[in-house]
Symmetry: C2
Subunit: 233 residues, 2 copies
């Protein structure tokens, strides 16, 4: 006999995956709008945001009901808590996609910035991390979740390289300041999307193994102190 | 007779307020380090981060235990959920303070930027919002929490004004690009701290009134579409 909590939890998981699919689409569209200078697509990303917000509220509410009214087993309990946290991360990823889309509208008001800056490589890393963090939840694959966490440094490294390139452009060409700054903010948002994917992966590890792996490596800010020059904040 | 859950919840509340006090200190120190060009103080902010992370993990764990092992009343239940969310916001505020402190270290490697940009006014707004969002939790004051939410637009407006000033400087003085960019990122982090304070206030309203007020106003990105030119992302 299926318990009531199993059925309800299954519904919440389905709602989470639907929300995740929409957020992945927003990220992909924001990146395509950026690469192809497509303002219409950028606007569609911005207009998708309220739906994501509504989905977050709805799923959050359902999780609270499950926690309050049911007597979930320990693994269900951790699953519900993980879903709540993942939903928060997805909502923030959606916000980052909206920020990128807003930047696209401003960039498209001017001629393209030359030489081209390799934002697509950062977009590709972020996209892959989001995909695999969600896959690790669906497949209950803690090893995959751990591999996502390890790739956060790659995203940081590419972000810092792009940051340096764009600041160099701003320094040498005052006429490029606005466009370079919008690209820099887009890169920052991609790096944040990668951070959120890392958080999702950490939530999955907590769900599967009851282990809280957040902040388990020394923060990069502290690694930077003394050893290397501080990185862009 | 005091219920066990009351005692435990009181302990978690106390731990939350201790964490909040530390984060407020980090924000104040980061702002003072920025205003007074104090690299030692900036480094102390960066070094405080692991303590905040550890506090977050500990409180989160205690909340899970309370949720899992006890049978809290509805108001306690909402209080525990609110504490979990507030702790997450505090941790992110701490990260923003660290980002500002990292920027200070880079700014101090160069001569001060002239003319001065009025970051202290934004710092003051953010600091007040953080203080009052936490006060609204302590005093169970939903009206105060609502007033914090309303002030988020003020923080946004000041941020956009500073953003415009700093971009203008970058355009006209290539030699100022690095410093103006670090100040711009500091302003962005202050604006994020104000956002997190708003989220805390929303969590307090949920706790006190069982009402989820998140995203209840049309997002500024959508208000901007069509009506006004898009704002910095």
């Amino acid at each position: 006999m299926t318990r009531y909590v199993d059925q309800s939890l299954e519904q919440v998981r389905t709602a989470l995956l639907e929300m995740a699919g929409r957020v992945e689409e927003m990220i992909a569209d924001a990146n395509r709008a950026l690469a192809e200078r497509d303002s219409t697509l950028a606007e569609s990303v911005i207009l998708a945001d309220p739906l994501i917000d509504a989905m977050e509220k709805r799923i959050d509410e359902d999780c609270l009901l499950l926690l309050a009214l049911q007597e979930p087993k320990a693994i269900d309990f951790r699953c519900i808590i993980a879903i709540q946290k993942i939903v928060g991360e997805l909502e923030r990823m959606g916000d980052s996609a909206v920020n990128i889309a807003q930047g696209v509208l401003q960039l498209n008001a001017e001629s393209p910035l030359e030489p081209r800056v390799d934002l697509p490589s950062l977009a590709e890393i972020a996209r892959g991390m989001v995909r695999e963090s969600l896959d690790s939840f669906v497949r209950k694959d803690a090893a995959l979740a751990r591999s996502v966490c390890e790739r956060d440094d790659d995203a940081d490294a590419v972000y810092h390289r792009l940051f340096g390139e764009l600041v160099g452009m701003m320094r040498s060409s005052p006429g490029k300041v606005d466009r370079a700054l919008h690209l820099l903010l887009a890169a920052r948002n991609l790096e944040r999307i990668a951070d959120h994917a890392t958080n999702v992966a950490e939530d999955v590890i907590f769900y599967l193994e009851a282990e809280d792996v957040r902040h388990s490596r020394p923060p990069s800010a502290i690694r930077a102190l003394g050893a290397n020059p501080p990185r862009p904040s």
